[in-house]
Amino acid sequence: MDTAFNASLILLTAVQTALLFAYARIFTRGVAEGVGRLARPLLVGSLGVHLLSILLRSALIGACPLGTWSEVVSVVAFSIYVTYFVVEVRIGDRSTGVFATTPAYLLSLVSAVAMLGATDPATTRVDLAQALHVVAAVIGFSAVALCGVYGFLYLFLYTAIKRDQFGLFYRRMPSLETLSDLNHSSTWVAFVALTGSLVLGFWAQGAGETGVLTLVEPAVLVTLVMWALYGACLLAWRFLGLGGKRLAYTTLLGFLMLVGVFFWGLFRHGFHD
């Protein structure tokens, strides 16, 4: 089982590297040709291998693979790939693929390296309430990461147009409006999922199923701030027509907070105190 799991991680890294290369090719060439044509099969293949590795991990530890930081990161990466897959199928545009999947690729790589190195897998048991809480958080954080990517792309294209830089990036990117819409859609997903995660987290705590959580715990506090920020963005979009650049800046800020939470967890070997 151990060997099969390690092999799946190596295969996953290889497929995801090829996928990243395929998306980079599509971006630089402007059309899906050569290895770029393989992007969709590689994306589907990487999702399959990723799911397999999660299932193998689950079988290996005999529990939901959300007990360690590297396991959670792996599921976050998987969730970003799935979210991006849905977005790609919906808008039919692969030009942002290289940007949208790079964070997921890096997360997946980090978790694969961490899990390959761990000869004795952690066996922290995760009960149902915790599992739901973590899954909601994972989806929320994945959407926050995608928001960050789209916010960054929006600002980059905005600046390119302002400064008359009409090169490759200008030619290959979708419109500012599309990037703003994608950002808005991802913001919705992030807000709903973070709401669910917070409610489930506090419910689980109230039911005495987790340790004692306080609002001043950095990870919880940052998540609450992110949740409020994204909620405010949605209200501003709906009632004040504020999107575009301001939404991009806000979601980029949310993404930076997520990076902070990530490193906090990495440093503390866990999300909560």
Binding site: G30, E33, D164, S175, L176, E177, G241, K245, R246, L247
Partner: protein, 432 residues
Amino acid sequence: MELEIVGLSLNHTVTPLTVRERVAFDRPSGTAFLRLIKERVGAEEALLVSTCNRTELYAVSTPGCPVDGASFAGLLAEARAFEPTERPRNYALLGGEQAVRHLFRVAGGLESQILGESQILGQLKRSLDWSRDAGTSGRILHRLWERALRAGKRTRNETAIGDGALSASYAAIELARKIFGSLDDVRIVVIGAGEIAVLALESLVGARFGRLTVMNRTRQRAEDLAVRFGGSVRGLDEILEVLLESDLVISSTGAREPLVTYDMMREVRSRRGGNRPLLVVDLAMPRDFEEQCGTIDEVFVKNLDDLSEIVQNNVSGRIDEVPRAEAIVDAEVRNFLDWFRALDVEPTIRRFRERFHAIRKAELEQLRNSMDEETFRIFDRLTRRLVNRLLHFPSANLRRHPGLSDREFIAMVHEVLTERIPHRSEQERREG
């Protein structure tokens, strides 16, 4: 004379416009010209391409009816009533692989005046209809056209040779699409009603957009444009109100002072609210919008120089794609030539198959009386299948053999497989 594709090309690189405009054809005259070629030259297969940049004729020269491009030039001069002194001399004669490659490059947009433009594909399809009307469409040129169109589609689908606008007015529309995505709900204002405004509005023809407002110092001219392009008219004194309700502004007045100052634009920006961007394409000289307007958040102000930069970048992008488009054309030319050259060995293959089957039948006939009818039929089926299977391999190999471009090789194969070469002693006896 062997089976060959020949062509005559009068195009923008070799033929002056004064000649090109006289040899341009429409459907009736093009069909009539193809019929004339069939009657006078005897060409069974001929196709004519006529666009604003080129008039080209392709035909198949066969051993029974050899034709060449030069004879088409004479007919063209005659059909278009050129005086002997003014007959076109600047044209390209094409033959064999060169003719095929030229057509494939034309289809791929590599020979177009605007590199990578895609109108040529429609024009090539149209020319196929003309040849059908004239009865000059045949198996070889039909296949040639089909493959050329395939090459053209591949170059545009698999490379970015057709990407990006190549004129200032289209670059402005491209920029608007890059900002707003679809133009469906984009509110457009055109300030000025001169030639540039007309050009800008013409580039919008066919595009769907939200609403059009025309503003001009002389109201009558604004109304003329509004009627022509389907918009409404507002006076220049309402410019601030109009800007509040606009997304794309195209300005090209002859005013000596800016119509919109930085302070006015700041006011517009603050009163618009939200984050809806405003794109101003200032094509006026001197400019209608103060330069600093472009520094305001969510306001993009672009002038002719900026649009030229977009065009230059697009041109460079297309030029970068040329080697990849040429590789596609090369591959498609090779595919077509493989098929075309195999046509030369078809008579040989047919003949040697006939010979083998004749031998089979003769041998079978000798056994007819020694078996009943049913057994004979079984043997007939069996031997036919056997001979077909035995000949399949050499036939397929012959069609694909690289030596097909060599006439001597084909003659040798023909002789070996279909002729009876006398024994040496027999030859010596004859010679002696």
